[in-house]
C-alpha cells in the first residue's frame, strides 16, 4: 500500500468516525454534547434544496458559533413544546471533495427516520451534508455544516438537529 493511499484511507476513516459519533450523539439524545462537534465559531445551517438551487439565503436553522447551538438545545429542553420523538440517521456516499489549508471539504448523503412516542415511524427527510472539517488539537471538528434537505416540506416541525 502506498503512503498516499494509506493517508487517504486513514483520513476517510477518521471522517467516517466523526460522522458516526455525530449522528449517534443526536440519535442517543445526548444533544448537550452536539455543539462540541463544531469549532467554537463553527456554522450550522439547515436549508432546502429548493432554496439552495434558487440562491436564496434563508435557512430553517442558522447557528453561528457553539453558543447559538447550545441555545437551540436549551430552548428545546426547557421552552419548546412538541410531541416526543427520536431520530435514526443513516449516512452514506462520503466524498472528500478537497483538502486545503482551511479544511477538508466533504459531501455525504443522509436519511433521517423519525419515530414518535406512539411508534409511528416515517422518513422525516433525506439530503446531503456539505461540510468543511478542520483539525483542532488532533481532533476533527466541523467548521461548517450545511444540511441540505431534499424536500422543502417539514412534517409538523423541526426541533432536533439533523
Amino acid at each position: 500500500m502506498t503512503t498516499t493511499l494509506a493517508n487517504d484511507l486513514s483520513l476517510r476513516l477518521r471522517i467516517e468516525a466523526l460522522f458516526a459519533d455525530y449522528v449517534q450523539c443526536i440519535d442517543d439524545d445526548a444533544l448537550e454534547q452536539w455543539p462540541d462537534f463544531f469549532t467554537g465559531d463553527g456554522v450550522y445551517r439547515v436549508t432546502s434544496r429548493e432554496n439552495l438551487s434558487l440562491g436564496l439565503p434563508v435557512c430553517l436553522v442558522y447557528c453561528e458559533g457553539r453558543g447559538m447551538m447550545a441555545d437551540r438545545i436549551s430552548a428545546m429542553r426547557t421552552a419548546n413544546i412538541f410531541e416526543p420523538h427520536t431520530y435514526n440517521h443513516s449516512i452514506s456516499a462520503l466524498k472528500i471533495l478537497s483538502v486545503a489549508v482551511d479544511g477538508i471539504r466533504t459531501q455525504s448523503n443522509f436519511a433521517v427516520f423519525r419515530t414518535m412516542a406512539d411508534g409511528n415511524m416515517s422518513l422525516f427527510n433525506c439530503g446531503r451534508y456539505m461540510d468543511r472539517i478542520v483539525e483542532d488539537n488532533g481532533v476533527l471538528k466541523l467548521a461548517d455544516r450545511l444540511v441540505v434537505l431534499e424536500s422543502r416540506r417539514i412534517d409538523t416541525l423541526l426541533v432536533i438537529p439533523i
Partner: protein, 417 residues
C-alpha cells in the same frame, strides 16, 4: 366567473348551533362535505386569496404556480406587465397546464395535447386543428374564445398579489379596510425581496391554523420561548384590531422603550428568570419600520398571514390538503435595499420563525392535537369565552378570543350556516 355561494353543488345538513360564535362544534374540522362546500363558498367565493408577490414574477413571461384552496393556479406576468391569474387546468381534458413551480414562458402550452394559451389564458391554438389529410380535426362549431383558462380577478397591494374567483368581492382596500391596510403599508413600505421559502405540513384542518393565528391569547402561553426570553409578555403594550366585519385581524405588541430587556414577573407556568441566551444575535431588533412594534401578526380572511416578528418579515399562505391536513407556505422577505448586515440580521432572527422557529414551531403540532381529539365526537364543542362573546377590538391587552370569534362569523356568513 362562478360564485360558489349561490350555485352550491354540495349541500349539508349542518347548522350552526348557537346565535354567536363563542363555541364551535368539532364537526367543522372533520366533515368532508363541509370541506367541499368551503372550496366553493369560501376559497372560490367572495374572498381575496394571497397568491404570490410581484417580485417573484418581475419579467414578462415569468410565472409561478400556487393554490387557492384546492384550486391550482398559474400566476403570470404578461407582455404589458400586467399580472394575470388563471386556474391551472386545461380547457380540453383538465390537465395541469404548468407542472413546474416557476419559470418563464412565451405562452402557456398544455403538454398533453398541445393546446396553447396566451399569457392572459386565451386559447390561441389547438394541435391538429385541421386534422390529418383532411380527416379529423376540430369541430367547426368549437369556439376558441369560449374555451380559455378560467380567470381570476387580480389585485396587487404593496407588492402582494391577491386573486378572487368572485365578481362580488369588494376591492382589496375595502375588503380589509383602512386600518389593516395601514399595517401592510407599515410592514412593507419598500420594494420586497424574497429571502427564501419554507413549507410546513400541518396534521390538521386548515381552520385550526387560522384560528391559532387569530388567537393572541395563546402566544405567551404555548410559545414558552416568548416568556423565557422576554420577546412577548402578556403585559407588554399592544392589542387587537379587527376589520369592521370581524373577518380580518391584527395582533400587535409594542415594546417598552426603556425596559425592553427585562424579563417580566408574570405568573405563567414557564417563566425561568435564570434562563439566558448564550448568544443574543438571533434576538436583535433593528427599528426599521419607524415605530416600536416588535410583533405584528395580521390575518386576511381566509388563509393569509402578514408577519412582522422583530425584523423577520414574511407572508404565510395556508393551503388546505384535505379535511385533516394543510400545508403552510412561508415566503421569507427582506427589502431590495437591505445591505449585507441587515440581511445577516434577518437570517439570524429567522431562527425564531418557520417550521423550526424557536417561537413558532409549536403551531405546527398543536392543531394536530385538536384534530386528534375532535374526531371522536363531532357534536362536542369548543368554548371561547376570553374577552367576552363580542367581536370587538381591544387596546392594551391580547388576552381575548375576539378575532377567533370574528373568523367564525365570516365563515358562517360565507358558508350560509
Amino acid at each position: 366567473m362562478d360564485d360558489g355561494s349561490v350555485a352550491a353543488r354540495h349541500e349539508t345538513d349542518f347548522r350552526w348551533p348557537h346565535s354567536d360564535t363563542s363555541q364551535t362544534p368539532y364537526r367543522v374540522y372533520t366533515d368532508e362535505t363541509l370541506y367541499a362546500l368551503e372550496q366553493q363558498r369560501i376559497f372560490q367565493g367572495p374572498v381575496w386569496n394571497f397568491i404570490g408577490l410581484e417580485c417573484e414574477i418581475p419579467n414578462p413571461g415569468d410565472f409561478k404556480t400556487t393554490f387557492a384552496g384546492d384550486a391550482p393556479l398559474i400566476v403570470v406576468r404578461d407582455r404589458d406587465g400586467n399580472i394575470n391569474a388563471m386556474v391551472n387546468r386545461c380547457a380540453h381534458k383538465g390537465s395541469l397546464v404548468c407542472f413546474k413551480p416557476r419559470g418563464n414562458v412565451q405562452e402557456l402550452t398544455c403538454v398533453y395535447h398541445n393546446w396553447v394559451y396566451d399569457l392572459a389564458g386565451n386559447l390561441t391554438g389547438v394541435a391538429f386543428r385541421r386534422g390529418v389529410n383532411g380527416k379529423g380535426g376540430l369541430d367547426p362549431e368549437f369556439d376558441l374564445k369560449k374555451n380559455g383558462l378560467q380567470r381570476l380577478r387580480v389585485e396587487t397591494y404593496r407588492g402582494l398579489i391577491f386573486g378572487t374567483f368572485s365578481d362580488r368581492t369588494p376591492p382589496f382596500r375595502d375588503y380589509i379596510g383602512p386600518e389593516l391596510c395601514a399595517n401592510i403599508d407599515r410592514v412593507f413600505p419598500k420594494k420586497l425581496k424574497v429571502l427564501g421559502y419554507h413549507s410546513q405540513v400541518l396534521p390538521n384542518n386548515w381552520k385550526l391554523y387560522v384560528e391559532n393565528n387569530k388567537d393572541a391569547y395563546h402566544a405567551s402561553l404555548l410559545h414558552v420561548f416568548h416568556n423565557t426570553f422576554g420577546v412577548v409578555r402578556p403585559t407588554m403594550g399592544g392589542g387587537i384590531k379587527l376589520s369592521d366585519n370581524g373577518w380580518h385581524h391584527l395582533s400587535y405588541t409594542v415594546r417598552n422603550k426603556d425596559s425592553d430587556d427585562v424579563v417580566g414577573k408574570e405568573q405563567v407556568r414557564s417563566l425561568k428568570d435564570q434562563y439566558k441566551l448564550q448568544d443574543v444575535r438571533m434576538m436583535e431588533h433593528k427599528l426599521e419600520l419607524g415605530d416600536y412594534t416588535t410583533n405584528a401578526i395580521q390575518t386576511i380572511f381566509p388563509t393569509t398571514v402578514v408577519q412582522q416578528i422583530l425584523n423577520a418579515l414574511a407572508m404565510r399562505q395556508l393551503v388546505p390538503k384535505g379535511v385533516d391536513k394543510s400545508e403552510l407556505i412561508w415566503t421569507i422577505l427582506g427589502f431590495e435595499d437591505d445591505d449585507v448586515d441587515m440581511q445577516e440580521l434577518r437570517l439570524k432572527v429567522n431562527n425564531l420563525v418557520g417550521p423550526a422557529g424557536l417561537i413558532s414551531m409549536e403551531d405546527g403540532c398543536v392543531g394536530g392535537w385538536v384534530q386528534t381529539a375532535a374526531k371522536a365526537d363531532p357534536t362536542a364543542q369548543t368554548v371561547m369565552p376570553m374577552g367576552g362573546r363580542n367581536i370587538e377590538p381591544t387596546e392594551g391587552s391580547r388576552v381575548t378570543e375576539a378575532a377567533v370569534r370574528g373568523f367564525w362569523k365570516g365563515w358562517r356568513e360565507l358558508m350560509g350556516v
